[in-house]
């Protein structure tokens, strides 16, 4: 008796080929597959849902515009990720020039109401310092930090998504952490706002 027929998901290469033939359904499938990844990257780096939504839109609008140049033999994640990161940083540069209005996005970032306002402000400040630290990293280090730490992909998944070897990802993470450490150590706000490392962060897990 034949079992339920599983619908085979098209590969990235197949989707891109169809996109290149102006198939809008294929582009929708492509968008659906990667929109959460791009949105979370943008949200992690901007801390603003509206900005993240704009970055999401702009990233995929570019993907559609340059679909003829997308490669069908490699993962589109590095390309999408790179475009999203660039858009985030250009947007952040512009935003620093003007005062951000208090709105829904600011309230959304404020966190739970149970947290004291002063503590909440400190947490926000620390998050911003970390974002600034990531922004100061070389682009290849930004990629691995965002995928590995912010998205929570494993080392192997990060390596696969970026088309790198596992050892390369480990090495880039090591240098990225060293760079971040240097950046955060230079920022006095970090020490003041962060305090001691929680016990569970230093938990020993013996093999």
């Amino acid at each position: 008796m034949p079992g339920p027929t599983a619908v085979r998901q098209p590969t990235d290469g197949e989707l891109i080929r169809r996109m290149q033939a102006d198939d809008l359904d294929a582009f929708e499938a492509f968008f659906t597959r990667y929109r959460t990844l791009v949105f979370r990257t943008a949200y992690g780096l901007t801390g603003d849902r509206h900005a993240a939504e704009e970055v999401l839109q702009d990233t995929f609008a570019r993907a559609h515009r340059h679909r003829s140049r997308l490669r069908t033999d490699v993962s589109p994640v590095p390309w999408l990720h790179r475009v999203a990161l660039n858009l985030c940083y250009s947007r952040l540069d512009r935003r620093r020039l003007r005062t951000e209005p208090i709105g829904e996005s600011t309230e959304a970032r404020a966190g739970p109401a149970s947290v004291e306002p002063a503590e909440r402000a400190e947490q926000q400040e620390v998050r911003q310092i970390v974002r600034d630290g990531i922004a100061a990293l070389p682009s290849k280090h930004q990629n691995v930090v965002v995928l590995y730490y912010l998205h929570g992909f494993s080392l192997q998944e990060t390596a696969t998504l970026l088309g790198l070897r596992l050892g390369t990802v480990k090495s880039q993470l090591h240098y990225a952490l060293r760079g971040l450490r240097g950046h955060l150590e230079r920022d006095r706000r970090f020490e003041r706002g962060y305090g001691p490392v929680p016990e569970d962060e230093l938990e020993v897990r013996h093999p």
Partner: protein, 200 residues
């Protein structure tokens, strides 16, 4: 061939990093490696400080990740994107040719920089018989003198054209004041002598 020398800190760095960054996918190494690394950590102040700082950074990154974990794109994002893709893109105000834009940029630079270097961009005009004094010497005084001479020359020319004083108004006729059919076009110049009948 000599093998590269690694300090004990280098040897244990990976194991110590794995120790503070315990996550799926990280190979924490054998128990013997970790034990040796922890023994080294007890003796090495530098590694201890570095590890504490690294742990802080990792903890900060994970707290940032907690925000990201629950973030979902808006439900109508595809609708917005498809609407945007259907709209024709507005044409940017830009030069299509890189050579033209380069030439425009160079022209702008010359227009901005040349006056500061004292260069005269106006090559010649029919009104000017000779070069501006300032063009060569860039001397303010000479330029002023040149201007004064020109003004005096113009004043003399005007005085020659004006008939004897006393008239209420003077008609100055110059070739360009003749119309195409030879009809004289007059321009009235006010005379600053007291008008007749209004003398006090």
């Amino acid at each position: 061939m000599r093998r590269p020398w690694f300090s004990p800190c280098d040897v244990h760095r990976t194991a110590l990093h794995d120790f503070v960054d315990h996550r799926a996918g990280y190979d924490p190494g054998s128990g013997r490696n970790l034990t040796a690394a922890l023994d080294h950590l007890e003796r090495c102040r530098d590694c201890e400080q570095q590890l504490a700082a690294t742990a802080l950074v990792i903890a900060a990154l994970r707290r940032l990740a907690d925000d990201v974990d629950t973030a979902e794109p808006p439900a109508d994002s595809w609708h917005r994107l498809s609407t945007r893709l259907e709209r024709p893109r507005p044409r940017r105000m830009m030069l299509s040719s890189p050579i033209a834009s380069l030439a425009l940029s160079a022209g702008l630079v010359v227009a901005i920089v040349a006056p500061q270097l004292g260069l005269d961009l106006v090559i010649s005009t029919p009104d000017r018989a000779g070069p501006l004094p300032g063009a060569d010497a860039a001397s303010y005084i000479e330029e002023q003198r040149w201007l004064r001479d020109r003004l005096q020359g113009n004043a003399r020319f005007a005085a020659d054209q004006v008939p004897a004083a006393g008239a209420a108004a003077t008609a100055v006729v110059r070739p360009r004041d003749l119309g195409p059919d030879g009809v004289q076009l007059t321009s009235l110049k006010p005379h600053f002598d007291a008008p007749p009948g209004r003398q006090h």
